[in-house]
């Protein structure tokens, strides 16, 4: 059997986390290839339906990344994201999907290292969990 190669989707806000990801790249930091980044204007723009859609289409893990609380460029988008994330955790539980498959992270434009480390950790965790529809969780 070939080794499980997880598919991870990361929604990164334009002003902080996406720039953080960029910085990780330009600093030549290594992080797993499993992540596909989708740029959004703000973490508050990431509707819960996006996460469920990603899972529906076969993503093994989904991350929402935004500016630190207080730093959102639209004032409180990340607070909204936080609230919605709580709802998502409820849905994950009812669905019987492991809560570790979804993540909410605050990563600023200067935190290239944090970005790379978060992805490393996330990919490792998802590898442990196995594929999303691999059955029993």
């Amino acid at each position: 059997m070939t080794e499980f190669d997880p598919r991870i989707i990361a929604f990164c806000c334009n002003w902080c986390s996406y720039v953080g990801a960029d910085l990780a790249g330009t600093s030549r930091l290594q992080y797993p290839h499993n992540v596909r980044i989708i740029r959004t204007m703000c973490s508050g723009q990431v509707f819960p339906s996006y996460i469920l859609k990603a899972l529906e289409l076969g993503a093994d893990g989904v991350m929402i990344a935004g500016c630190h609380i207080g730093d959102c460029h639209y004032v409180s988008g990340n607070k909204k994201a936080e609230e919605r994330f709580r709802m998502l955790l409820g849905i994950m539980k009812t669905l019987g999907l492991d809560a570790r498959r979804i993540r909410l992270e605050w990563i600023s434009a200067s935190e290239g290292v944090k970005f790379a480390n978060t992805i490393k950790e996330f990919a490792r965790e998802i590898k442990e969990l196995g594929p999303r529809n691999g059955g029993k969780e």
Binding site: S49, L52, E56, M87, T94, N133
Partner: protein, 376 residues
């Protein structure tokens, strides 16, 4: 497309426009014309229909079917057109961004192991039994809408009433969405998967009777699962029918209080013709005052299958609430979890209407009955 036209008798359309005249959506949405959709289908304009965003505006409420002189099965016609559109890659402008539809599609994963029975902890339920309670999507509605309504109370009250009558219902740990919403938004392939998973579990439970809270589950199990469940002889019934029979046969009684009015859900009323059972229950709990639009003439809660939610939907909800309030009742009873959510959502969101006009308590039939149980 020809097949759909034939099966739904759209061939007989005489272009009278009564459907458009009686349609609650067409009243406020000038781009939506039920008659024109039929005409376009009859002239073979397949692509034109598939790409039309108004194809998803119909509530499949069947208000028009009651008026059509040619007895065109309008909602089934729309369902067919949507399947055709879906198969060509078009989808609805789902409310909640399609969140619920995603949950429903995830349900079609064969070895999904859900954790959905928290609510039943303090109640008597079992894995197998004579009577099966099909909870529907209530646990998910609770996850989503708990900011303004508690849909899971419907499940709790239902089992409470059953327990009170000495019934220990079976509930399924891995029950799937019945597939109603996907079927009515064109995804019949996933619907088939859900239907097969559910029928298998229902058969395994050993039940001879399945009770639902949700009229949409009821319709789906009764009519759309017919070929899967037919040979089993399993009886499918709505909770209002069961309570009404418990009143007659087991002497269950309710404490009377207050004045109530009743909103007929389209699936329970026009689709299945169940008008009396919920009314029997209400009349035993208090005084029933009907709204002008009731039974087959009932207006719609404004959203169906989570396919669309627009300003028109909000308008319909507000109108319904004003109508309910003007009866002088203190409670508006409905017997559909989705109607409950949609009507409460209108109040919860800032709607452009004075609060006093719509501030009527909205409650599900089973919840009201659970509270009013005499001797509890």
């Amino acid at each position: 497309m020809k097949q759909i036209i034939r099966n739904t008798k759209a061939y007989y359309c005489v272009e009278c426009g009564k459907c458009t005249g009686s349609c609650p959506v067409a009243r406020g949405n000038e781009f939506f014309s039920p008659r024109l959709i039929v005409e376009r289908a009859l002239s073979g304009m397949k692509q034109d229909i598939e790409g039309d965003r108004e194809l998803w505006a119909c509530l499949t409420c069947e208000a028009c079917s009651k008026k059509c002189p040619s007895t065109v099965k309008y909602s089934e016609f729309i369902r067919g057109m949507r399947k055709m559109a879906f198969d060509s890659g078009f989808t609805s402008r789902c409310s909640q961004g399609g969140l619920l539809h995603s949950i429903q599609r995830i349900h079609s994963i064969k070895d999904l192991v859900q954790d959905r029975l928290d609510w039943a902890k303090d109640l008597k339920t079992s894995k197998k039994g004579e009577v099966l309670y099909f909870t529907g999507c209530l646990p998910y509605f609770e996850n989503l809408f708990s900011a303004f309504v508690s849909p899971i109370e419907i499940a709790k009250s239902t089992v409470k009433i059953l327990n009170f009558a000495g019934i220990v219902p079976a509930i399924l740990q891995n029950e799937r969405c019945c597939g109603h919403d996907l079927l009515w938004t064109g995804d019949s392939e996933t619907f088939q998967k859900l239907a097969r998973l559910n029928t298998e579990m229902i058969k395994e439970s050993g039940a001879s009777r399945v009770v639902t809270s949700c009229p949409e589950c009821l319709r789906t199990l009764k009519l759309d699962y017919a070929d899967l469940l037919e040979s089993t002889g399993i009886e499918i019934m709505h909770i209002s029918e069961l309570i009404s029979s418990l009143m007659k046969n087991n002497g269950i009684k309710f404490n009377r209080s207050g004045i109530m009015t009743y909103h007929d859900p389209c699936r329970l009323g026009r689709h299945l013709g169940i008008y009396d059972a919920p009314r029997d229950v209400i009349k035993s709990m208090g005084e029933l005052v009907e709204m002008g639009n009731h039974m087959a003439e009932s207006s719609c809660c404004g959203v169906s299958a989570w396919a669309t939610c627009e300003s028109m939907s909000k308008q319909m909800q507000v109108n319904r609430l004003i109508e309910a309030k003007s009866t002088g009742s203190d409670t508006l009873i409905t017997s559909c979890p989705k109607c409950l959510i949609h009507l409460k959502c209108a109040v919860h969101n800032q709607i452009p209407v004075e609060k006093e006009k719509v501030d009527i308590r909205i409650e599900d039939l089973a919840v009201a009955a659970g509270k009013a149980l005499a001797g509890d």
